[in-house]
C-alpha cells in the first residue's frame, strides 16, 4: 500500500470511530436489555454475555430469544435469527465490490458489517468506504459486549424492562439511520413502499420475512432510469 492511501484509510477509520460512538452508546443500552431478557428467559450470565460477544447482531439475538422464551425449540429460534440476519446478505452483496483481497480476507472484512456501519459507510453512489465501516463498528462492538455484561449481571436489580420502556431504543436507532438515507424522491418512495410491504406481510409470514421481502422493492432500481 502507498503512503497517501494509508493516511486516507487511517483518517476514514478515525472518522468511523467518532461516528460510531453515539450508536455505541445506544447499543450499550440495547445490549443491556438483551442481557436482562436473556437472564429472565433462563440463560446463565456467561451465556448471555457470550451470545452478545460472538453473535453481535441485535435483531437476530432478540428474535431467537423471543422464540425460545415462548417455548420454541432450537430450529425455530435459529430460523428466526437467520431471517432477521438475511438483510446482511443483501448488505454483503452491496458491499462486496468495495472490498479488496482474496475470498478469505473479504469474508473476514464482511464480519464488520452492522446496520449503522454499513449505512454510514455508503457513499450514496453504490460504493462503500470500508475503513469508515470498520471504524464505525469498533466502538459499537465494545459497548455491545459491555452492555451485555451489565445487563446480565445487574439485570435482576432493574426488574421489568418493558415497564422501563427499553423497547423504544431499537426503533429510534434504526430511524436515525433511515433519516440519513432519504436523499432523494426515489429513496423516499422505496422507503414508503418497503414499509408497507413489510407491514402487509406481518400477519402472514414468520418474523424476519417481512423485512427481507421489503428489500424486493429496491428492484424498481432496475426499471427507473437515473436522470
Amino acid at each position: 500500500m502507498a503512503g497517501p492511501s494509508d493516511e486516507d484509510a487511517r483518517q476514514a477509520f478515525l472518522r468511523g470511530i467518532k461516528a460510531g460512538v453515539p450508536f455505541g452508546v445506544v447499543g450499550f443500552f440495547l445490549s443491556a436489555s438483551f442481557g436482562v431478557l436473556a437472564r429472565q428467559a433462563g440463560f446463565s450470565v456467561a451465556q448471555a454475555i457470550v451470545t452478545a460477544m460472538i453473535v453481535f447482531a441485535g435483531s437476530a439475538q432478540f428474535a431467537a430469544l423471543s422464540v425460545i422464551t415462548v417455548g420454541g425449540g432450537i430450529p425455530a429460534a435459529l430460523t428466526a435469527g437467520s431471517l432477521m440476519n438475511a438483510r446482511f446478505l443483501a448488505m454483503g452483496i452491496a458491499l462486496a465490490p468495495s472490498l479488496p483481497g482474496g475470498p478469505m480476507k473479504r469474508a473476514v472484512q464482511g464480519q464488520a458489517v452492522v446496520d449503522s456501519s454499513w449505512a454510514l459507510a455508503s457513499r450514496g453512489d453504490g460504493t462503500f468506504d470500508r475503513w469508515l465501516l470498520f471504524g464505525t463498528t469498533v466502538p459499537q462492538y465494545v459497548t455491545w459486549a459491555l452492555g451485555s455484561v451489565v445487563g446480565a449481571i445487574f439485570g435482576d436489580a432493574l426488574g421489568d424492562t418493558h415497564r422501563l420502556g427499553l423497547d423504544a431504543i431499537y426503533p429510534v436507532f434504526f430511524l436515525s439511520l433511515l433519516i440519513t438515507e432519504l436523499r432523494d424522491s426515489s429513496s423516499r418512495w422505496v422507503a414508503v413502499c418497503g414499509g408497507l410491504v413489510a407491514l402487509a406481510l406481518v400477519p402472514i409470514s414468520p418474523p424476519g420475512v417481512p423485512i427481507l421481502a421489503a428489500s424486493a422493492v429496491t428492484l424498481v432500481g432496475l426499471v427507473r432510469r437515473s436522470r
Binding site: A64, A96, P97, G126, G165, A198, T218
Partner: protein, 105 residues
Amino acid sequence: MTLTHAEVWVLIVCLAAMTVLIKALGPVLLGGRQLPPWFSRVIVLMAPALLTALVVTSVFASGRSWSVGAHTVGVGVAAVMLWRRCSLVLCVVVAVLVTAGLRAI
C-alpha cells in the same frame, strides 16, 4: 423456556456460525468485481427499504400481528426530534422516558 443449559449453548454457537456465514457470503461470492450500473441503483435503495421495514415492524407490529403501544408514541416523538436534527442519544432518552411514562400511568 424449555431448553436445557447445554441446548442453549448449542443455540448460541449455531446462531453465531449462521451470522458469520451470512455476512461472509456476499463478499466471498461477489468481491473485487466490477458490477453493472443497474446493480448500484438497486443497492443504493437497499438501505432505505430495509431500515424502514425494521422500524415499522418494531413500532407497529408485535410478533405476527399489528399492534401499537406506548413505545409507538415514544418513537414518534423521537422521530420528530431526529427530523429536527437533535442528537441520537437525546432522542433515545426522550423515547424511553415517554414510553416508560405512558406505561406508568
